[in-house]
């Protein structure tokens, strides 16, 4: 028994052998680098790297270089907690970001709060993360319940767009249920009849049975929510193949905005709306420049995730620049937190200023980007391209409504 205890120490000693480098400013990022979510971890890794390279090439932050420490959590909550603990206590990072999925972000937030280390959320969207009063947790991106903001605005202001009825199909994950609930709450408030309320398990192979059922309700709008790209594409395909002809197909979730929608669905994607937390403002030169540069470096066009990762580093750098760092880790972390509270800037993602306010589902947010509702955009697939159509200020082209197929 004794020998086993000593062996614990020996093994733990191995774990702790990473040298303590005091020089660069360290940012920790738990991300899924293996496991089912690995592709997302990889996207963020690229985006973080690019931003850090740019900042360091320009002389760093107050003369000190930035460094990112990514730890793999395999999309498992317990591992996310473990690596967060490690990043804070072993790697001695000043500030945390990342997380990828909400379950893991919840663990990171909870530990950051306990160990008093600022955590700046870049992508996880569960409302709960910034609705629990964690003063050490900040979020740049919109919460799940904000996703339908642009859609909401669209049906209220575009002439004749108010749905007569709507069918809502969403996955039974945190993401799907949050958005599904938010959308239905808002529609009901406007007196719109919800003719179908269908939840499905993620990674469903065949949506035809659900879609046949939905078709029977003859909805005026078909609203689809998917956390998984597979589901987004199959939902759209099967809905169209079954012959549902609503005035508008509206998708919520990243999957409805990826290039695969067009390549996989071809003409079936035509005129499908994607109402997302962020679809980029292509009219902004900074966004254009970022897209071009990213494509040049990695050979792929960036999306939501890359933009979020890239922007978050700039927000952190900005806070670090303003924070008075003394070398005392605890004091420095608090200084960073205070600097974040005073953030007021614009990134490729858009405007950032953290504040406490009430969300659409009635939650009280803490340190949630106050500009979140303005980031929400409706885009539409046209000829294989996803173009912003609403609100007008971000529109690249006019919108097609109602869907010409519905009129036949």
């Amino acid at each position: 028994m004794r020998t086993f205890v000593t062996s614990i120490f020996a093994l733990l000693a191995v774990l702790s052998s990473s040298p303590a480098l005091a020089q660069p400013l360290r940012i920790g990022a738990p991300q899924p680098m293996t496991g089912p979510d690995a592709p997302f971890g990889d996207k963020f890794k690229k985006a973080y790297g690019m931003a850090i390279e740019e900042i360091n090439a320009a002389g760093g932050v107050n003369g000190r270089k930035l460094e990112i420490v990514i730890e793999d959590h395999q999309a498992k909550n317990a591992l996310a907690a473990t690596v967060t603990e490690k990043l804070i206590t072993q790697e001695k990072v000043l500030v945390l970001t990342g997380g990828r999925a909400s379950g893991q972000a919840m663990e990171i937030a909870s530990i950051s709060q306990r160990l008093k280390t600022p955590y700046l959320v870049d992508h996880p969207s569960a409302d709960m993360i910034t609705a629990k009063g964690f003063e050490w947790v900040f979020r740049n991106n919109p919460t799940g319940s904000i996703y339908p903001a642009a859609f909401n605005d669209f049906i209220s202001t575009y002439p004749g767009a108010m749905p007569k009825s709507a069918a809502v199909v969403y996955d039974n994950t945190l993401f799907g249920k949050t958005i599904g609930a938010a959308v239905m709450k808002q529609l009901k408030a406007k007196g719109v009849a919800i003719v179908a309320d269908e939840a499905y398990p993620v990674n469903t192979l065949d949506f035809k049975p659900i879609m046949t059922k939905v078709k029977g309700t003859n909805p005026d709008y078909l609203l689809l929510v998917a956390v998984s790209t597979t589901d987004a594409i199959l939902l759209t395909r099967h809905a169209k193949e079954i012959g549902i002809r609503p005035r508008a197909f509206v998708g919520f979730g990243g999957g409805f905005g990826v290039a695969d929608m067009a390549t996989q669905l071809g003409p079936l994607a035509q005129n499908v709306f994607s109402s997302a937390a962020w679809s980029g403002n292509p009219n902004d030169p900074k966004v254009k420049a970022f897209y071009a540069k990213f494509h040049k470096q990695f050979g792929i066009w960036p999306h939501e995730h890359e933009v979020e990762g890239y922007s978050i580093i700039y927000i952190i750098a900005d806070a670090l620049k303003r924070a008075k760092l003394t070398g005392n880790l605890d004091a420095d972390r608090d200084a960073v937190r205070k600097a974040l509270l005073a953030t007021d800037m614009t990134t490729v993602f858009g405007k950032v200023k953290f504040g406490n306010w009430a969300g659409p589902l009635g939650d009280m947010y803490t340190n949630q980007n106050i500009y979140s509702p303005e980031h929400s955009v409706m885009a539409q697939w046209k000829g294989g391209q996803l173009l912003n159509v609403w609100p007008k200020s971000n529109a690249e082209t006019g919108l097609t409504f109602p869907d010409p197929l519905a009129l036949k």
Partner: protein
């Protein structure tokens, strides 16, 4: 008396660990090891002693986690009470599960437990009134616990470490008790030959159900502990198949049906997992899988079992008899 010595040494080492731990991450890993020891022991009680291989222990873990969490959030029940109550509810829930699954033997039993676990997960996902569905529950802060006029602050790791150590000891002690108790003897008989066990008057169904309840109690307490330590419970985190598999791996690698096996398995798999993850950013699970295969190929009796064998053959050689 002699058999108490290693236990005492272990207890002393356990008590000393936090003093030497350089930072909270070490304690965190130690807590994880202790939690996995409990869970490995929970599985081992049923799988190792009674020979009933369950692939559904995540369900019992999850039930414990949910019950503890819900009691705390809805009724303000402190972890002190919440964890054992979570274990009790898991044990109660295991009774109908056992009555259904124990009608099957061998791989059919294993597959049935897997199905039960998946059903429990679906229920947790959809029974929103009770479980909050996929959203789950998040605790933001625990009020300090008052023990004998002392306020224990849950913000530090130490109280969790103490609780985890107590739970792991409870798990190991249950196993040790089982080894010497009448029930344990019955289980060995059932594992060796179920018909013969019935013939000598052993109510095999009752013995198996009681063992499952004990196993569920331990697993449920593990779930309760998880809920408080990680503070976030949702179906994906606490009802995942991978949790069930991990428990099997730990008991198996440590040594099936041995008292110390789960501890060794937990230490080994946690540290191997951490070390490999540290060294190989991408693809570390390749090594984990490979390690599993090698362990089963070359040490089917587990580390503890192998060590015991080596020890006894060494002893035999030194004492000059039994050397074949």
């Amino acid at each position: 008396m002699r058999s108490l010595a290693p236990w005492l040494a272990g207890a002393v080492a356990l008590a000393a660990l936090p003093v030497f731990a350089p930072n909270s991450f070490f304690l965190h890993v130690a807590i994880l090891i202790l939690m996995w020891t409990l869970l490995g022991a929970a599985w081992n009680v049923l799988g190792g002693f009674a020979g009933q291989v369950s692939f559904g222990h995540a369900a019992l873990f999850g039930i414990g986690a949910y019950v503890t969490m819900i009691l705390y959030l809805k009724a303000g029940v402190s972890p002190w009470w919440g964890i054992p109550v979570g274990g009790l509810v898991a044990a109660l829930a295991s009774l109908p599960i056992g009555l259904v699954c124990f009608r099957l033997r061998g791989p059919y039993f294993s597959l049935a437990t897997l199905a039960v676990a998946e059903i429990v997960k679906l229920v947790a996902l959809n029974w929103e009134a009770v479980t909050n569905g996929p959203v789950g529950f998040l605790i933001t802060g625990l009020p300090p616990l008052r023990v004998f006029g002392l306020a224990v602050d849950w913000e530090s790791k130490l109280p969790f470490y103490v609780v985890a150590a107590l739970l792991a000891l409870a798990g190991l002690a249950s196993t040790a008790w089982l080894r010497t108790s009448r029930l344990g003897a019955y289980l060995v008989a059932i594992r060796e030959n179920e018909d013969a066990a019935e013939a000598v008057g052993i109510d095999t169904v009752r013995a198996k159900v009681m063992t499952l309840a004990l196993s569920a109690f331990l697993a449920g307490m593990g779930g309760g502990f998880y809920a408080f330590y990680f503070r976030y419970v949702d179906p994906d985190a606490v009802l995942n198949i991978s949790l069930s598999m991990e428990m099997v791996f730990i008991a198996m690698v440590g040594g099936l049906g041995t008292v110390g096996g789960p501890l060794i398995g937990a230490i080994f798999l946690t540290t191997v997992g951490e070390t490999v993850r540290e060294r190989f950013q991408v693809g570390h699970l390749i090594f984990y899988g490979l390690f599993m295969m090698l362990a089963i190929r070359y040490m089917p009796e587990g580390i503890w079992g192998r060590a015991r064998k080596l020890f006894s053959s060494l002893q035999a050689r030194v004492l000059g008899h039994g050397a074949a």
